[in-house]
Each structure stands twice: as structure tokens, then as C-alpha cells.
């Protein structure tokens, strides 16, 4: 029987002719990504050239403990001769950096001890978040196990209307189909040609919130162009066999969508059109993270706040996905526009996204964010509430002081 793209990558990396849902496979991992700290007790590793090391969650170090961890990582780099290391100054959020620097490549398997690793699925790369112990296993052995799940095929047709973005698509889906626990997502359809890499990366990243095992985009001309001059290694793209089996197919007409927010607490079955919650007062607005800290997100935010001011009593924080993106945003004038409007533009970090540092929420506060999670306590106080929206919805809300449909500005 034919295989899906995901099944093909799993088969290819486990030396099998065929895999099917239900199988457990032991695969070779092509790229292993580590952030912020390394275990000091590792004696032997599989291959230093397959590692990418960087700082993102706690950078620049907000605590002494973080500074000590960072030093441990630098010692590891020295000890094992790791070439692909991104020190402070060249740093970026792990998922943003592996795409930007050409480590996440079609047909490859990439692992990282972070749930949004599925982000690299936008590059036709089979990428998965794993836990810290498993990451140590991959570091040492260069292998891990995956369970082959059934795959949902999502067909996107048409073009998104004005002020509706890929972020709205990836909010709409769990709002109407719930979670995809134990399942894979493959993205297809002519509508994809209208979704640029930044948008695909957003959608692949938020697939973690849909509980998907893997989320994979096809290799097409958009991706081909993106990889030109960027790919660090040779690669072989994958596409599904014509008779591949998808036990669920979801068809989405992009032109029918409108801006969507996810209400606080959870993602499955929890989205609404923005207009239904418009008027909800906010204390903080945030654009950033591995989902929406890219140049196009800066462009959208800058366009919306240009000539306007962040509403009194509202904080607007914008964090780039990498230092390289920040530099581009400075050059393009987006940073100036945002700062003139009263926004805070930070260094690249995960800080506000996970409630770690720089931008936590107080008790009872309300935030609208274009980062990744709306869980209770995620961005600070467990008594705060976090709504999620597209960067346009967040920027429109920042200047209005209340949740605002970006089409209404």
C-alpha cells in the first residue's frame, strides 16, 4: 500500500520498506537541537556535527542559575568540538533559528527537547519535540523511537481575505475539529501556494497545540526558493504516494475564514471569531515566540500601529524570533514605527512566551498574544487570562486597549 510523506520518512530512517499506523520504529535522527543547558555527565556522544546548540529560553541570562547553565553549554561546545553553536548575539529561538540557518531540511528527522519542534514541519522536515531524557538518549545514540500514527490530510484551497492570516487558519482548525492527539497532519492543496514560509512556520509551530504527532508541509516552489543558498546539507524531499491512505480529510476554503481568537485555558474546541470577543479589555499585548516572531509579523504589526499609539494602560511587547530578524526589522524601519507607537521591542528570547522573564502578567490581568500558549499560568500569574490571536489582531488590540478585529481599524 502507498505511504504518506510522514510514513515515507519514518520508513527511510528505520531501514524498512514500509511502515503503517500502529508500528513502533527506531529511527536515526539527523539533527539534534539543544538550548540553554547541557548535561555535564555525558561521556560519549553519537556525532557532534549533527548537533545544533543555542540559547533562547533564558537569554541574556536572567538569573545566576541560567548564567551557570549557559557556561555549562559553552563548556560542552569546547569539550566535544561542536561547530553549530549560536552564542549570545547570534542567538534566536530554537525553531526559528534551525529554519533560518538551514538545519531543518526536507526529508530529514530533527529532534529537540521542546514541544514546538514540529515547527520545522513547514520545511518538509519530520520534526518532533521530545523530553529531556530522550534528548540525552539521542545525543548519545543518534537514535530514538516513534510510534506511527494515522494521518489527517488537510486540503487548503483559495486565498485568505484581507487581514486574515495563517495564524487564524491554525486557530480555526482546533476550534472546529478539536485535538489531533496521536495523529499526524499533512498539509496539501492549491491554497498553500498563497501561504509564504513565515505563515507555514506559524501553522506548523501551532500544530503542537493541536496535539499532533507530526505536522508536515510539502516540498514545493515556495520552499525550494526559501532553501536556496540556505540549506546546510544535501537533502531529499518527500511527497506522498498517489495511493497513500489518509483516514481523515479536512477541506478548508481559505477565502471563507475570518480572524479567530483562542479563548484562555486550552486550544481544542476553544476558538471564536474575534468579533465575538471584541471589546474585552486587555492589559498586555504580545507578539513574538517561535510562532509569530518573524519579519512578516513585524511588518504587519508596524503597518497597523503606524500613526497610532498603544492605548493608555496597555503594554505592547514585541520580541523577534532571532537577532537576525531583529536586525532586518530595524533596517526595514519596523522597530522605529513600533517604538514610536509606544511598544517595547526586546532582544530575541522565549521570555514572555513561557512566563519566564521580561513581560510576565500580574494577577487578574488579561493578555492577548500571538505566541504559542494560553494555558493557565503560562505567561505569569495563574490568575491572569491569555487570549491568542494573529499579530494583526494583537496589534489592533494594543492600540485599542480592547480585543479588536483588525478589519475594524
Amino acid at each position: 500500500m502507498g505511504m504518506t510523506s510522514i510514513e515515507k520518512i519514518l520508513a527511510g530512517h528505520s531501514n524498512r520498506r514500509e511502515v503503517k499506523p500502529g508500528d513502533v520504529v527506531v529511527v536515526d535522527v539527523d539533527v539534534a537541537v539543544f538550548f540553554d543547558w547541557m548535561r555535564p555527565d555525558v561521556v560519549r556522544i553519537a556525532d557532534p556535527d549533527r548537533l545544533v546548540l543555542l540559547h533562547d529560553h533564558q537569554v541574556p541570562a536572567p538569573t545566576i542559575a541560567a548564567a551557570n547553565n549557559a557556561r555549562q553549554m559553552r563548556e560542552f561546545v569546547e569539550k566535544f568540538g561542536v561547530k553549530n553553536y549560536f552564542p549570545v548575539g547570534a542567538h534566536g529561538i530554537c525553531h526559528v533559528l534551525v529554519a533560518q540557518e538551514g538545519f531543518a531540511l526536507p526529508g530529514k528527522i530533527l529532534a529537540n527537547a521542546d514541544s514546538h519542534t514540529c515547527s520545522s514541519g513547514a520545511l518538509n522536515c519530520l520534526a518532533r519535540g521530545v523530553g529531556p531524557s530522550e534528548m540525552t538518549y539521542i545525543l548519545c545514540k543518534g537514535q530514538t523511537w516513534f510510534m506511527v500514527g494515522p494521518t489527517t490530510r488537510v486540503n487548503l484551497e483559495g486565498e485568505l481575505p484581507q487581514r486574515v492570516y495563517p495564524r487564524d487558519v491554525i486557530h480555526f482548525i482546533p476550534g472546529h475539529y478539536g485535538d489531533f492527539a496521536g495523529r499526524n497532519l499533512e498539509w496539501h492543496g492549491d491554497g498553500l501556494t498563497n501561504i509564504a514560509m513565515d505563515g507555514r512556520l506559524t501553522m506548523a509551530t501551532i500544530s503542537a497545540e493541536l496535539s499532533a504527532e507530526f505536522s508536515l508541509f510539502p516540498y514545493d516552489s515556495v520552499l525550494e526558493a526559501y532553501l536556496q543558498g540556505r540549506a546546510k546539507w544535501p537533502f531529499e524531499p518527500v511527497s506522498p504516494d498517489p495511493d497513500a491512505h489518509y483516514d481523515q480529510v479536512i477541506d478548508i476554503d481559505l477565502s471563507s475564514l475570518e480572524p479567530q481568537v483562542v479563548l484562555p485555558g486550552k486550544v481544542a474546541w476553544n476558538s471564536r471569531p474575534v468579533r465575538e470577543v471584541a471589546g474585552q479589555k486587555i492589559d498586555q499585548a504580545f507578539i513574538g515566540s517561535c510562532a509569530n516572531g518573524r519579519l512578516s509579523d513585524f511588518a504587519i504589526a508596524a503597518e497597523i500601529v503606524k500613526g497610532r499609539q498603544v492605548a493608555p494602560g496597555t503594554r505592547f511587547i514585541v520580541t523577534p524570533g532571532s537577532q537576525a530578524i531583529l536586525l532586518e526589522a530595524v533596517r526595514a524601519g519596523y522597530v522605529e514605527t513600533l517604538m514610536q507607537a509606544g511598544a517595547v521591542v526586546t532582544s530575541s528570547t522565549c521570555g514572555a512566551c513561557y512566563g519566564g522573564h521580561m513581560g510576565l502578567l500580574a494577577d487578574e490581568e488579561v493578555c492577548i498574544t500571538a505566541s504559542t500558549r494560553n494555558f493557565q499560568g503560562r505567561m505569569g500569574s495563574p490568575k491572569a487570562k491569555v487570549f491568542m490571536g494573529s499579530p494583526a489582531t494583537v496589534a489592533a488590540s494594543a492600540v485599542s486597549g480592547v480585543i479588536t478585529d483588525p478589519r475594524d481599524l
Binding site: 561521556v43 523530553g131 545514540k141 485535538d179 492527539a181 500558549r373 494555558f375 493557565q376
Partner: protein, 167 residues
């Protein structure tokens, strides 16, 4: 490791996420201090009420969220195993790979009241409610994954094979 675990049941709902199991701030505390903050947002005080050997029963999509070492924290608390309607894939990995037995089992939420005693064979999938005298059947994880649990997790394997410095 034994193929069964038995203990008093604590019930949790659907979509129990990793931020509830380990809040963001606790993530950067010493491993021994992390468990104290487990479920502090949704069930303050629970860590003082639960006892070693207790069993978690949960709804759909248990462990959704980040790569935080949820299995490690629950093991440190002394949870003997988790039975849930379904697991998030990453949450499941983070239990199996540290040697915490898990069992996906449809109908588990309705089959138990909090405080009932569960006896669970996580290799055959048989779940007994010893308080009610009822039985139901879960879907055990594949044998290859049971072997990882039985070995005490992947780090135990690395240690045995000399990849990690001995403690």
C-alpha cells in the same frame, strides 16, 4: 519492574497540560523542588494530600503542552502510574522514557470515583476497580515501549552502557 501497579485514584479532567504539572517558574528549580508545585494552579494543596503509590486517572489528551519532564516530576512524587482516556504524544513519551507506566483506556473516567482503589496491569491493559469490583480493558502501549518502561527508562539504559558518568 512489575507489570501491575495498584493504588488510590486521583481524578483529573481533559487536557491536563504540562504547565499545570510543572509551572514555568518551577521548571528552573532544582529537580527535587519541582514536584512541590505540581497542579498548584488547578488543585492547590494536592501535593500534600497525595501519597506515594497513588494512581492518576485523567480524561482526554493528558500531558498536552511542552516537553517539560512531567514523567520525572510525577515519579518523584511517587505516582505509580497513569490511566487516561488518551494521551498527548509528547506527554506519553515523557512518561515512558523515564519509566513511568501509562495506560490509554477508554471509559476510565466513568469507571472510577476519586479515592477508589485501582489495580492496573499496564502490559495486558486490564484495569480493576477494587472498590467497585468492576473491570475494564485499556489499550497497552506496544511491547517495545513496555520494555523501555520495564528497563527504568532510557537514561537507565545509557548509564548501563557507559554513556553517562556514574553517579
Amino acid at each position: 519492574m512489575a507489570s501491575t501497579f495498584k493504588g488510590r485514584v486521583w481524578k483529573f479532567g481533559d487536557d491536563i497540560n504540562t504547565d499545570l504539572i510543572i509551572p514555568g517558574f518551577a521548571l528552573y528549580l532544582a529537580p527535587d523542588e519541582q514536584p512541590r508545585h505540581c497542579f498548584s494552579a488547578n488543585r492547590p494543596g494536592w501535593v500534600n494530600e497525595m501519597q506515594r503509590g497513588d494512581v492518576l486517572v485523567a480524561g482526554r489528551n493528558f500531558g498536552v503542552g511542552s516537553a517539560r519532564p512531567i514523567g520525572d516530576v510525577l515519579l518523584r512524587l511517587g505516582i505509580s502510574g497513569i490511566v487516561a482516556e488518551s494521551f498527548n504524544g509528547l506527554g506519553l513519551r515523557n512518561c515512558i522514557n523515564v519509566g513511568l507506566p501509562v495506560l490509554p483506556c477508554k471509559g476510565i473516567v466513568d469507571a472510577f470515583e476519586e479515592g477508589d482503589i485501582a489495580e492496573v496491569n499496564w502490559t495486558t491493559g486490564a484495569v480493576h476497580n477494587l472498590t467497585k469490583g468492576t473491570t475494564l480493558q485499556g489499550q497497552p502501549v506496544p511491547k517495545a515501549l513496555q520494555d523501555i518502561v520495564a528497563a527504568g527508562g532510557v537514561e537507565a539504559v545509557l548509564r548501563k552502557e557507559g554513556y553517562l558518568a556514574s553517579r
